[in-house]
Symmetry: C2
Subunit: 354 residues, 2 copies
């Protein structure tokens, strides 16, 4: 370690993002992006006139974007905060709601970034294993006295917790904040947003990276009681007040206002997912029941790591986690039907070889 590093920085647990090759040579199914370009409204909104204003700071309150999001989700702007991707807002939530005397819990198999961010703030997290079948049972969290992070649907399994279960968690301890990370909720799972006015301890995280085709724009948002949102703003103004840039504010607002495009894109992903699952099951794969824009699949005939490597050699990028309980699986983003057909063809060919 460098002699310059603080003790706190030595103890960090940096996250390894999925491969992002900058040439376009792969069928890229490894980082859960949308295969569709952003809404035509986004392209129109990012006008030359707006580009000419890049010399001026963005609005630190993100008023136009927060209002657009509030309208879409039938909330007030005071119930919304936007971030430089939901990763940033997750970090703000760790700082706002966890610390000395306020522990944090999350699942053993879930979004790997929670661990990195807990380490960023020097928190000792309580890791609660998923059940044997990869379900998250909220009963396992009922007595936990600190803040809870639940990815719903979960990653990389794609499996969702019913809203009624989250409700039980919220009611069991009204002083405990429950953060429901709904990055993947728009592909068929039940959102907790309708419960926001009822439970002031519920914070819902969403992102425009998946269902709104803006991964490259970095727009995440959190929805919750005015009290929770004020707490997150307190953190934001201590870290980076101008956290969302001008063009992302504009793009995000235009994206969230284009409901028909959103419905068309998320509908297509669900269709393509159903097709892919059927085809892979026909090839003998076990596929966990996904409500996300990815699936988690394994074959008894080829180990996960080998499948990942061979697919990559043949131009198809999926994600493999070399970790306990999941190393038999690969995570496959649901892309266009053409991309999924390429995946299925290649998987079939590889299985013939083994």
């Amino acid at each position: 370690m460098s002699r310059f590093l603080s003790k706190e920085a030595e103890r960090l647990a940096p996250y390894t993002p999925g491969e992002q090759p900058q040439d376009a040579q792969y069928v890229k199914l490894n980082t859960n992006e949308s295969p569709f370009p952003p809404s035509p409204r986004v392209l129109k909104a990012l006008s030359r006139a707006e580009l000419l204003k890049l010399n001026l700071y963005s609005d630190p309150t993100c008023a136009a974007l927060n209002s657009a999001i509030a309208r879409r989700y039938e909330l007030q702007p005071e119930n919304v905060i936007t971030g430089n991707g939901s990763d940033e807002l997750l970090a703000f939530a760790f700082r706002a709601f966890c610390g000395q005397g306020k522990g944090v819990a999350y699942a053993d198999i879930t979004y790997g970034f929670y661990k990195s961010q807990a380490a960023f703030f020097g928190l000792d997290a309580t890791v609660i294993p998923l059940r044997e079948d990869f379900t998250l049972n909220v009963d396992d969290y009922m007595d936990f006295p600190g803040t809870i992070f639940i990815a719903n649907p979960n990653a990389p399994t794609g499996m969702a917790v019913p809203r009624a279960d989250i409700q039980r968690l919220l009611e069991a301890d009204p002083d405990r904040v429950v953060i429901v990370d709904e990055a993947y909720v728009d592909f068929g799972a039940e959102s907790c947003v309708p419960m926001i006015y009822r439970y002031d301890n519920l914070l819902v995280m969403q992102t425009m990276s998946k269902s709104r085709s803006l991964a490259g724009g970095r727009v995440g948002f959190a929805l919750g009681s005015a009290e929770l949102i004020a707490a997150l703003n307190r953190v934001k103004y201590s870290f980076n007040p101008y956290n969302v840039n001008r063009l992302s504010i504009i793009a995000g607002a235009a994206a969230v206002e284009d409901e028909p495009y959103f419905q068309a894109c998320t509908g297509a992903i669900q269709n393509n997912r159903a097709w892919t699952v059927r085809e892979l099951e026909a090839l003998g794969f076990t596929v966990l029941p996904s409500q996300a824009n990815f699936i988690f699949a394994k074959s008894d005939r080829i180990p996960g790591g080998e499948l990942y490597r061979k697919l990559k050699e043949n131009g198809i990028l999926v994600r493999w986690f070399d970790a306990d309980r999941v190393r038999d699986y690969v995570r496959v983003t649901i892309g266009s039907l053409e991309q999924m057909a390429a995946l299925v063809d290649e998987a079939a060919r590889l299985l013939e070889e083994v």
Copy 2:
């Protein structure tokens, strides 16, 4: 305070950014933006083809942008990290280089955000007063055993420390990191960048918000030894790996490659600054010797707060800090000659009234 807040979040010291009215009714000289639009190269680079790729994540390594910056400053890409504005990188530096046993020092009168970020990480900062004439004397830092942040030129004074003084600090303790925040260096001050290969404990922060007309794009960068940059990347990958969005990567690279535009813009600001200083001095103002794109000025005939309010009533926005030692002054961004003429006219009119 909210019952949900962590103790750590209660102790935060959120920063108050300058006013950002979202209508264009003011001559806006309060947040040190460039009065010039971004380089024509930036507009060209933000093409429709690039907008169509917003569904894909940005490159977490920011390779294209870091390479462009490295070329401009005659460094290697391993000497560069980019951030979501330099505010984010300053925070990363606080986490990387300060903590238990590694204190932090900065001036009493300097960029207010250092205090917010020190609080974000729960650090007890050592605040070292500027001398009576607002100069920062590095002798006052010589024996400080922790990490040092120096804004150079300083804000809101605009006054600069000679490179040779920073060099003495670097040499006095090779195990101590010195962070030189050069947000405003491009308007006439001496940059420490030429010393990077010589001192591995030197980190230089810069931003494209001022001299490169990209405040709305949020592009900051840090330059330093590969060891310091690796430490910052360790923090970045623990906080937000995709911290710079696609369009800002593109815009930043195009901006840094347009040297003639940069020279033209920064030259114009220096001319306009000289003119404004002469005019204000002719009106009896005291103006600190600024090497930044703003000036810090006071009149014995009108208190700073009153001058700020009256200018605002008359459509001119400047910044006033209601704080010890500086409340007699206003900080005025150097904009276009037309904007500065409007300021000088209005200041003259107000002085006639008192």
